[in-house]
Symmetry: C2
Subunit: 352 residues, 2 copies
């Protein structure tokens, strides 16, 4: 992974191969979406959020909108982590202003039977990737992604986003059932990511939104093992696209995650200490993160100062500039433009 790449290789892929460059690549989680007025206008054309995600033309447009406005070094396919449980046959819908709702968890046998078919049911996302790749400049990378099994499982178990207490309790009360559910999700997620790589995703991100609060033994069982299994499965299928693993909320457990999961990049959340990131870099890992999305929304001199601090503390090593969490819907565009320009040296384009 440390051989020199051709100059045309996107900056994001070079840093994930361990190259240090004159400046870090930059992209933002949720860079596409509600913070952009052109997204809100586009979104209004679809009857619901899931239909929007499954409409390759609209989803490709949403993916590309921030790329037209800002000098981001990578696009991430517009999709949702709950498209996968839906493709496995669990009903999913979005209540306006309240987030996702899922019907009762189907039996493991039912879900396991759906794994092979699920990848085909997600072919729209492959088409979105193809459309984006065809339009995106070659020096900008395209990222595919999936929710990590534990995070997806918490939604499947609880039927909604929540404090995850019910899912954590379920993992203690019904360990065999939870392990079986995670095994189904590892299988389906690996297939889904292989499909995304074949459709044009040049890097793959695994989002664990809810690693927080897990005891060390549970973190190993619910997070580390499934992530490692997915990477192994995807590699075994011949896919060489690098992985970015994001165990959000893992706290001090990030280091054992990085030791055990063979991802090229480790995404750090807002809380990650400078020293921890530098230790991972010293071990040859590329890191990503970790600007506070609340500070990006707030803006002002404190934002400028924190951007400088992040560039200073991590920018000399293998580093992808990003947030520690997604862009908030009410984030002023001028704040995004200012940070991207500071990192890339390229101003945002004026939009009609």
């Amino acid at each position: 992974m440390t051989t020199a790449s051709a100059p045309a290789t996107p900056r994001l892929l070079r840093v994930l191969a361990g190259e240090t460059q004159d400046r870090p690549p930059v992209w933002f989680m949720r860079q596409a979406g509600r913070s952009l007025p052109e997204y809100r206008e586009l979104r209004a054309k679809a009857p619901d959020f899931i239909s929007f995600c499954h409409h390759p033309e609209m989803a490709a447009e949403a993916t590309l909108q921030p790329m037209r406005r800002f000098a981001f070094d990578a696009a991430i396919v517009f999709a949702d982590i709950l498209l996968l449980p839906r493709a496995l046959g669990q009903q999913v819908w979005f209540e306006a202003g309240e987030g996702p709702r899922l019907a009762a968890l189907p039996s493991i046998e039912f879900l396991a039977d759906q794994v092979e078919a699920s990848t085909g049911r997600l072919s729209d996302i492959g088409e979105t990737l193809q459309r984006v790749r065809a339009e995106l400049e070659p020096e900008r990378a395209l990222i595919g992604f999936a929710g990590a099994p534990w995070t997806v499982a918490t939604y499947m178990i609880e039927g909604r986003g929540s404090e995850r207490e019910a899912a954590r309790a379920f993992a203690y009360a019904e360990p065999e059932k939870v392990d079986a559910l995670l095994a189904v999700l590892v299988d389906a997620t690996a297939r889904y990511l292989v499909m995304q790589a074949k459709a044009g995703a040049q890097a793959l991100k695994l989002f664990e939104s809810w690693a927080e609060g897990l005891a060390e033994d549970m973190f190993e069982r619910l997070v580390v093992q499934p992530h490692a299994a997915i990477v192994d499965r995807v590699r075994a299928a011949g896919v060489t696209a690098p992985f970015i693993g994001f165990p959000r909320g893992a706290g001090a457990l990030v280091e054992s995650y990085a030791e055990a999961v063979p991802v090229e990049g480790v995404a750090l959340d807002t809380q990650a200490p400078a020293a921890l990131g530098r230790r991972l870099q010293a071990q040859g890992r590329t890191i990503q993160g970790a600007l506070d999305n609340l500070l990006l929304r707030q803006g002002g001199p404190a934002l400028d100062a924190r951007v400088e601090q992040l560039l200073e503390q991590w920018g000399k090593g293998a580093y992808i500039f990003n947030l520690g969490h997604g862009v908030l819907p009410d984030t002023p565009i001028a704040h995004i433009a200012r940070v991207v320009e500071r990192v890339t040296g390229k101003p945002a384009r004026a939009m009609a």
Copy 2:
């Protein structure tokens, strides 16, 4: 703090002085309260939760109830972290089943004017401590506590328990105001803890329930500095009772907390890795934690195995056995009894 103590010194105080013993002391956060039927019966005699906390006879009884049932090595005064903002003149009430509610944040000037008077308004808690100390066996320690300034401030700003996003955003948007609020809380909290020590508290715990999600620079500003200031202030008043600091959710930032805050004990949350606890012990710090409260509620072989693991991983050093969070209200008493008996060798007493 490392001189040998007299044999009658409570086990908890000996371990906080750095002595290793034949077995760790044990107590549980929220060991008093709704998990006990005798508490629910007692609580029903007061018109509301705040009146209950301000009734020394009932609060002392609640503090002692788990000590009669289980062989805990320490009692913690029955009180609430929101008694302090109430004593500072911000109205606080509890909605049944919904948790605390606070009226709008008073001006900093108003609050600052209330600091001196606030300690007197909390004298009931001092009387509770005196009553408990008079009844508690000398080999069992009595712990006083307060909420840490940032945690208390989040309630004061948001008016309720929440995801803390509004308070974190406020800390970016109004840094001078938040710093002034924290300074008021440092002052009032230090006075409150000095009063508790004078009333019989032999150890002092500082509860930071909401360190999670803070970026490193914000953690330093909102958590580390106020904690260190409180310890300094309490020490300057001549109080020698050891401190246990609990930066819950601090993740990998726990180590910089331990470096910068001169507490004798560092309480670890459920997520804390074994290796992190051992590093703190190797640096001469006493650690406390970190059994998952969900696993305590679940019980069974997985609970037994985790208790053994915690004793094995930390029990050879300076260690206080405890949970990583409070006892859940629906935790079976038999599970608490089983764990306390395993740690102490002493069975729970049969209760009528």
